[in-house]
Symmetry: C2
Subunit: 332 residues, 2 copies
């Protein structure tokens, strides 16, 4: 049987379409500009997943850890969890008339953020105790979920869980499609992040590692509850990150991604292991679409990481150059 001319033309068109579709599907990181950063990521993933490659890593060792604040979502003008805590103080104020004269609560209620910040670690611990403890874990989670529904970021007027980085969502998905298990390892509160991490990033609660408070179990009026206590359990930052990884994940990652010197030890621990390793630093260079900050920032300071990245072989993302879009809502 021979094809008539029209049939052959049709076939050529269909084949062309299939090829074009395949080519489009083949870019797993469409929001990343072509260049050395994207090439390094894709090269690493192809290398460790290629059966027979000397750098092949079995699936059960493909552990990837991601910082959250300033790495998966924004962290300016201050950590979103702090904004949550300040909002909660305002919401709880009617039940706490004594706060009108007690610092740092009085400054929060007056809207004097500078004075709140000046209250330092002691002030922050009081805010944390008031808004994060002496309640059940379920009450806390319900409060966070409510807040996420209504609170809006002061600059973009978007819900905080939309202030996430589209290129990082693609990276998480790309790694998972290649057999990686993706974890959050963040200085942020673990109970806070677990409220939105699954829906927002596709990372289930048990794959979220973060700072935590001690907790106790009790049966209250016949109902078992977990009570959040005003006592620190783990500070999952700096030296605390490899410790958190050890305690919660139980094996050393082969891929770690962060954006500040709080992630330095996580990248150091990850990339000092044997075999292929990948350390990734997000450098905030985009004052127009996001924020530009590094060595002198009051938040997400990146100093030692920039100094040592090249020596350690860590790849630095230049947000302004490497990312086609920043937020999902910026997508064309």
């Amino acid at each position: 049987m021979q094809f008539a001319m029209t049939q052959r033309l049709l076939l050529i068109l269909i084949c062309g379409l299939v090829v074009a579709t395949t080519a489009a599907a083949a870019d797993p990181l469409p929001s990343w500009n072509d260049g050395p950063t994207k090439e390094a990521i894709v090269g690493f993933v192809e290398n460790v997943t290629k059966s027979g490659s000397p750098d092949f890593v079995p699936e059960n060792q493909r552990i990837a850890t991601f910082d959250n604040d300033g790495n998966l979502w924004s962290e300016q003008p201050v950590y979103f969890q702090l904004i949550y805590a300040l909002d909660q103080v305002k919401k709880m104020a009617p039940e706490h008339p004594e706060w009108k004269t007690q610092e740092p609560f009085a400054s929060i209620l007056r809207g004097d953020t500078a004075k709140v910040m000046a209250s330092g670690k002691e002030g922050l611990m009081k805010i944390l105790a008031a808004t994060h403890t002496n309640m059940t874990a379920e009450e806390f989670q319900a409060n966070v979920a409510d807040w996420l529904k209504t609170a809006r970021h002061p600059k973009t007027n978007r819900p905080y869980n939309e202030m996430i980085y589209q290129p990082m969502l693609e990276l998480l998905g790309y790694l998972r499609a290649n057999g990686f298990k993706t974890f959050i390892v963040s200085g942020g509160g673990v109970d806070f992040m677990r409220v939105f991490a699954e829906q927002t990033y596709g990372i289930p609660p048990d794959q979220v590692v973060g700072s935590s408070l001690k907790a106790k179990y009790e049966v209250k009026n016949g109902k078992p509850v977990i009570i959040k206590l005003p006592e620190i359990n783990l500070v999952d930052d700096k030296e605390g990150k490899p410790v958190g990884i050890h305690q919660y994940i139980g094996q050393r990652p082969i891929f770690a991604s962060g954006n500040s010197d709080g992630d330095y030890q996580m990248l150091e621990w990850t990339t000092a292991g044997e075999g292929p390793r990948f350390g990734l630093i997000l450098h905030h260079t985009d004052g127009k679409r996001e924020w530009a900050y590094d060595r002198d920032s009051h938040i997400g300071q990146l100093n030692k990481g920039l100094d040592d990245a090249s020596k350690k072989g860590w790849v630095v993302i230049d947000m302004q150059k490497d990312w086609k879009v920043v937020y999902p809502f910026d997508k064309p």
Copy 2:
């Protein structure tokens, strides 16, 4: 077209074979005897996985937790991890001549187990400190792996990681095949269990929750390491189990399986949640194939659990009646 007689016969034979194979594959728990225990397990799983059922539970909420000692592997004559610690003391003794006159080490070296046990919590803490701390996590794991290769159980002369329950392996696999994520939640040491849990039970390190020591991160001679410290971090037993579940898993299980009163709170916490829940207790009733013990046992005491099981709706496995085989090496 018509089939010739031989072709039709062949077809019938093939169809028969397919049906028979399907029927065999349809029993996901072949080492469990038919009866109410097996029926309750299968009924629960079918109920929560049946799309459209009022009791349907989405996959990301299908969390199942299992105690380890006496529940996934044996715990007699004493916890296997204690046998590991005693073996380590003997192995380390040449470097510690002072142990010849120091208790409880002197008693261990003389083989006077009764006196070791009589040293109580203080003695156990000394053994724990000597054999589990002030070394890197990697050194500890290598020691455990070496021990598992050579140590043999005093009764069966089998490696300890073969003293596991075949019916529970089937249950783990059955739950996973139905979209459950399976976790260990054990009073045993998390670093100890993580050495063998993946190969033995198919449970990866990050899905093992257990008792733990504090740890620190440091760079030693240019090499980053995690050091195990002689300080308790979490006692993952009794009230500690729901706390461990909260801290590590971050959501309440819908299925919990244990064998002693150390698991009581885990079952209570699990089954007090809304919607369909399953609590499972393994009752050691088989003095011939394994061990028979419960209310008066010095290890794995099961007292309150037996009293309350019926009231709480927990299903009790009668090892002797419900299990066709106990260990994988007993399989016909």
